[in-house]
C-alpha cells in the first residue's frame, strides 16, 4: 500500500515533469531581423522615452518586476523573486533572485539595485529631460521625488521606500526605464550621476558601458541611424528561456512599403508595426503572417475644451457622441484593426469597465441639440496635418469623416489644421482649440496613466488648460485611488472616477486601435503585447 502511494506520487511527479518539458521546443540558431519604424535614441535604459529604444532595450536589460508576456497589466516577478508591501503602503521589500550575473560578469545583488534606484532619485538636472518617465512617475527628483530611498537589507533583499503610498508603484516599475543595469558598467560609461553632459555619457551613446543588463540578449553594437545588433546570452539565468536565435538585428526601416517588401523578400523576419493600409497585402501573401496583439493600448478621442460654447454644454457633447458613425471610421481608417471605445481607457487597463458610451444615432443627436437650447452650433475643429499616430492613422481622413457626421446633425464646423510640432501640440495644450483630434498610447496599464496623466488630472491644483474640465470630485477620487492602501479600495475609487467622467462626457472617445505586426510565416513563438513588451528570446525561426 505504501509502495503504491509512493508509486502514485512518483507517477504524478513524472507527469508534471513531462508536462513541463512538453512546452513547444523551438529550433535554435539563426539571426532574426526585426524592422522598427525608426532608430533607437540612446543605449541607457534610464535615459529614454521612446518606443523604439524601449523595444530593443527590453531584450537586454531587466526590471525587478515585469509584465506577463502578452499582458498589459499583469505584474510578475523578474529579477525579484518576490515582493511584499508594508501595511502603510510605503515600503516595498524585494527579495532578489540569487546567482544572476550581469553581461559584464559582475554580480547582480542588492547593491546593484540600490545603486540604480539611487541614480533614479539623484539624476542630474541636465539629464532629466531625457528620462521623462522617471520624473513623471515619481513627481520629480531628489526631495521632490516620491521615491524616498532604496536600502539594502541583506545581499539579496532591498527595501524601497516611498514618501506617500502609490497604488501604481509596481505597475510603473515594469517600465524599462527602471531596469537594473550593471553598476560597474554605469560607472565605466559615466552614467553614475557624475557626468551631466549626455553626449559624454558613453553608456547612453553606444560606447563603453552601454546596455549592460541581465537579459537574454547582450548588446553588440549600434550603427546610429541604421541598426542595433544584440546577441544571445547563453548564460541567461532563466535556463528555460535562453534565446533560440543567435542574434537579433533591429533595422530602422522608415518606409512602410519597404517593411512589407523586406518581409516578402525575406530580408526582414518581423516588422514590429505595420499600417492599417497594408494589412490586406500582408493577409493576401501566404508566406507572411499578420500578428494581432489581442488587446489595444491606446485611446483615440475627439478632444474638447470646456471654455468654449457650445462645447461647454454637456448635452452638446453627448449629442456629438451620438452623431459619430464609429463602425464606418473603424472599417475605413483602421482596416478593422481597432475596436469601438467603451471607456476613456482601453479594455485591458486595470479596473476599466464598459461605460455604455453612446452609439451612432442621428435622431438622438438632433434631439439632444434641441434640448441643449444652444442656437449657435458653430465649432472650431482642428487636426494635425503632418503626422499619423498609432491611434490615428489618417488624421485628415478621420477629420473629414467626423466633420461630415457632425454637419449631418446640424453643426457648422470651421475646419483648421496645423503642424504637429509647429503649433498643434502647443496650442491644444494651452487651451487654444475648441475641439481637436488627439489620443494617447499607454505607458503603463494603470487607469491613472490614461484618466489622470493623459486626460483629466488637475495641473497645479486646477483643471488643465487643455480641456478646462472642472470636476473636483473626480480629481479627488483619482488622487485618493492612487494613494489607496488596498487593491479593493483602489478599485472602488477608480470605478467612481469612471462614473463621474461618463456622467459629464468631457470628450468623446472614438476607438482603441490595435497596431498590427507582421512576420514571415516561419517565425514562431512570438507573443505579441499591446504594450509592446515582447520578449524575443521566445521566438524561433522554423527554417532549414
Amino acid at each position: 500500500m505504501k509502495n503504491l502511494r509512493i508509486g502514485a506520487i512518483l507517477g504524478a511527479l513524472l507527469m508534471v515533469a513531462a508536462a513541463c518539458s512538453s512546452t513547444p521546443v523551438g529550433k535554435a540558431g539563426g539571426t532574426l531581423i526585426v524592422a522598427l519604424p525608426g532608430d533607437i535614441v540612446r543605449t541607457d535604459a534610464a535615459l529614454m522615452d521612446d518606443s523604439n529604444t524601449s523595444y530593443v532595450i527590453q531584450q537586454v536589460v531587466e526590471t525587478l518586476v515585469g509584465l506577463e508576456p502578452g499582458s498589459t497589466s499583469k505584474v510578475i516577478p523578474v529579477l525579484a523573486e518576490s515582493y511584499v508591501m508594508s501595511a502603510d503602503g510605503l515600503t516595498y521589500t524585494f527579495k532578489l533572485r540569487s546567482g544572476i550575473k550581469f553581461h559584464d560578469g559582475t554580480e547582480f545583488n542588492a547593491d546593484a539595485v540600490v545603486f540604480n534606484y539611487e541614480r533614479f532619485i539623484g539624476l542630474p538636472t541636465e539629464l532629466r529631460d531625457y528620462a521623462f518617465y522617471i520624473g513623471d512617475i515619481f513627481g520629480g527628483y531628489g526631495s521632490e521625488s516620491n521615491l524616498e530611498s532604496a536600502t539594502k537589507i541583506d545581499d539579496l533583499t532591498v527595501a524601497i521606500k516611498l514618501r506617500k503610498a502609490s497604488s501604481n508603484f509596481l505597475l510603473t516599475q515594469t517600465l524599462q526605464v527602471f531596469a537594473i543595469q550593471s553598476p560597474t558598467a554605469l560607472v565605466l560609461g559615466k552614467a553614475d550621476n557624475t557626468e551631466t553632459d549626455v553626449a559624454k555619457i558613453t553608456a547612453a551613446t553606444g560606447g563603453a558601458g552601454a546596455m549592460v543588463g541581465t537579459g537574454p540578449f547582450k548588446f553588440v553594437k549600434w550603427t546610429v541611424g541604421d541598426s542595433v545588433e544584440v546577441e544571445k546570452n547563453a548564460e541567461y539565468w532563466d535556463k528555460a528561456k535562453v534565446a533560440y536565435v543567435d542574434a537579433i538585428i533591429f533595422k530602422a526601416v522608415a518606409e512602410e512599403a519597404q517593411r512589407v517588401n523586406g518581409l516578402a523578400t525575406g530580408e526582414i523576419d518581423l516588422a514590429q508595426t505595420i499600417a492599417p493600409a497594408t494589412i490586406a497585402a500582408i493577409a493576401a501573401n501566404p508566406d507572411l503572417q499578420l500578428i494581432d496583439r489581442g488587446s489595444s493600448f491606446n485611446t483615440f478621442q475627439i478632444s474638447m475644451n470646456h471654455t468654449y460654447a457650445p462645447i461647454s454644454n454637456p448635452k452638446i457633447r453627448e449629442a456629438i457622441a451620438y452623431a459619430i458613425d464609429y463602425d464606418f471610421l473603424i472599417e475605413t481608417f483602421y482596416a478593422g484593426a481597432a475596436v469601438r471605445a467603451t471607456n476613456w481607457m482601453p479594455a485591458g487597463v486595470a479596473y476599466a469597465k464598459d461605460l455604455n458610451l453612446p452609439g451612432y444615432d442621428v435622431e438622438k443627436a438632433k434631439q439632444l441639440i434641441e434640448e441643449s437650447g444652444e442656437t449657435d452650433l458653430t465649432i472650431d475643429f482642428w487636426y494635425p496635418n503632418d503626422v499619423s499616430r498609432p491611434y490615428m492613422p489618417d488624421p485628415k481622413g478621420l477629420f473629414e469623416a467626423i466633420t461630415a457626421n457632425l454637419e449631418a446633425v446640424g453643426f457648422t464646423i470651421n475646419p483648421n489644421s496645423d503642424g504637429w510640432r509647429e503649433g498643434y501640440l502647443d496650442d491644444e495644450n494651452q487651451g487654444k482649440y475648441e475641439m481637436w483630434l488627439l489620443g494617447w498610447t499607454g505607458d503603463w496599464a494603470g487607469p491613472d496613466n490614461f484618466l489622470k496623466t493623459a486626460f483629466f488630472g488637475y495641473k497645479n491644483g486646477a483643471p488643465s488648460k487643455e480641456f478646462a474640465y472642472k470636476n473636483d470630485a473626480l480629481d479627488k477620487a483619482m488622487n485618493d485611488a492612487l494613494a489607496a492602501g488596498t487593491e479593493a479600495e483602489a478599485k472602488t475609487l477608480w470605478e467612481t472616477a469612471q462614473d463621474l467622467i461618463r456622467a459629464d462626457m468631457p470628450t468623446v472617445p472614438v476607438a482603441n486601435s490595435k497596431p498590427q505586426a507582421a512576420a514571415t510565416i516561419d517565425l514562431k513563438g512570438f507573443i505579441g503585447s499591446a504594450a509592446l513588451n515582447e520578449p524575443l528570446n521566445l521566438v524561433w525561426l522554423d527554417r532549414p
Partner: protein
C-alpha cells in the same frame, strides 16, 4: 594652370560667406519658438534654457554669427539634438555609403548613357534614336522614389533576383573598416560578401543613375551630332581615315567637353538624389540620415549636412572646371 586654379579658389570665397550667412539665418527663422521646434513634446524649461545658451540665442546677432563662424571653422559642426551623436563622426561613418552609391550610379549612367548617346547620334531620326530619346525622356521624368519602388517590386519581390534594402546582407554581420564595403570585403578576403555588396548596389544605382543617364545620353547625342558636321571631321574622313579612328580621335575628343560639364554637375545632383534613393533602399548613407534628421527636426544635423553638401558641390564644380581646362586649353588663357 596654377593661376587659373587660384583664381577659381578666390572666386569661391564670396560663395562660402553667402552660404554661412544663409545657414546661420536658417535656424533663427524657424517658425515659432526654436525650443518647441527642436525639443518637441517633452521639453522642460531647464532644457529650453540650456538649448538657448548652447545656441547662444540670447546674444546679439553679430556676436552669434561670429560664434557660429568660429565654431564651424574650428571643425565643431554641432551634435544631434535627438541622440547627442556628434555630427562629424556620424557624417564620416555614413559618407562612404553615399560615395559608393554615387559611384555606382555614375558608373551606370556613364556606362549606359554615353554608348546610348553615340548610337542615337549615329542613327539620327531613326527608330533606334526615337527609342533612346524616348527612354531618356522617361528617365528624366520619373521620380527617383517611384522608380526605386518599382525596381524593388519587380526585381526584388516578384523575380527575387536582387536584394532590396541595405548595403550588405544584415545576417552576414560583417564589420567594415573603411566603410567602403566593396573594398572592405575584398580586403577581408570575403569574395562571397563582395558579390553580395555588388548585388545590393545594383538596384539603387539604377534608380539613382536614371536621371543622369538620360541627361548624359541626350547631351552625348547632341554634342556628337554637332561635331560630326564640323569641317575637320569631314577633312579627317576625306583623308581616308578609318571610321573608328575618326570617331575616337576627332569626334569624341571634341564631343567630350559638354559631356564633362554635365557629368560634373550630375555628380553634385546625385548627392541630392541620394536623399530619396537611400531612404527607399534603407541605405545607410548621408541621404537617409538627413531625411531622418528633417523628420525629427534635428536642426544641427540638417544645418551641417547642408554646409558639407554645399562644400562638396563647390569642390566638384572646381574639379570639373579644372578638368574642362585640361581638356580644352583655350579656357586656361581666357
Amino acid at each position: 594652370m596654377g593661376r587659373y586654379i587660384v583664381r577659381r579658389l578666390i572666386a569661391a570665397i564670396p560663395v562660402l560667406i553667402g552660404l554661412s550667412i544663409l545657414l546661420f539665418a536658417y535656424i533663427r527663422i524657424l517658425p515659432g519658438d526654436p525650443c518647441v521646434a527642436i525639443l518637441g513634446q517633452h521639453r522642460t524649461p531647464e532644457a529650453c534654457a540650456a538649448l538657448r545658451e548652447n545656441l547662444g540665442l540670447d546674444l546679439p546677432l553679430w556676436e552669434q554669427y561670429i560664434r557660429y563662424l568660429t565654431n564651424t571653422l574650428s571643425g565643431d559642426l554641432g551634435a544631434s539634438v535627438i541622440n547627442s551623436q556628434p555630427f562629424l563622426a556620424e557624417f564620416l561613418t555614413r559618407f562612404p555609403g553615399t560615395v559608393e552609391l554615387t559611384i555606382g550610379a555614375l558608373v551606370f549612367a556613364l556606362g549606359a548613357g554615353i554608348p546610348l548617346g553615340r548610337i542615337a547620334a549615329r542613327k539620327v531620326g531613326g527608330r533606334v534614336d526615337g527609342l533612346i530619346t524616348g527612354v531618356s525622356l522617361f528617365g528624366v521624368s520619373i521620380p527617383v522614389f517611384v522608380l526605386g519602388l518599382a525596381l524593388v517590386a519587380v526585381f526584388g519581390v516578384i523575380l527575387e533576383w536582387l536584394p532590396t534594402q541595405g548595403r550588405i546582407d544584415a545576417r552576414a554581420r560583417f564589420d567594415a573598416t573603411s566603410g567602403l564595403l566593396l573594398i572592405d570585403t575584398l580586403f577581408a578576403g570575403r569574395l562571397d560578401l563582395f558579390v553580395d555588396v555588388v548585388r545590393h548596389l545594383i538596384l539603387p544605382s539604377i534608380a539613382l543613375g536614371s536621371i543622369p543617364l538620360a541627361i548624359i545620353a541626350r547631351i552625348t547625342r547632341a554634342s556628337v551630332i554637332e561635331v560630326v558636321n564640323e569641317d575637320y571631321v569631314r577633312t579627317a574622313r576625306s583623308k581616308g581615315l578609318k571610321e573608328k579612328t575618326v570617331d575616337n580621335r576627332h569626334v569624341m575628343r571634341n564631343a567630350w567637353l559638354p559631356v564633362t560639364t554635365v557629368v560634373g554637375l550630375q555628380a553634385g545632383g546625385l548627392l541630392g538624389g541620394a536623399v530619396l534613393t537611400e531612404t527607399v533602399f534603407v541605405w545607410n548613407g548621408v541621404g537617409r540620415w538627413v531625411v531622418d534628421a528633417i523628420q525629427n527636426r534635428d536642426y544641427p544635423i540638417v544645418q551641417s549636412t547642408i554646409l558639407v553638401f554645399a562644400l562638396i558641390f563647390l569642390v566638384v564644380n572646381l574639379l570639373v572646371d579644372i578638368g574642362y581646362a585640361l581638356l580644352n586649353p583655350k579656357i586656361r588663357y581666357q
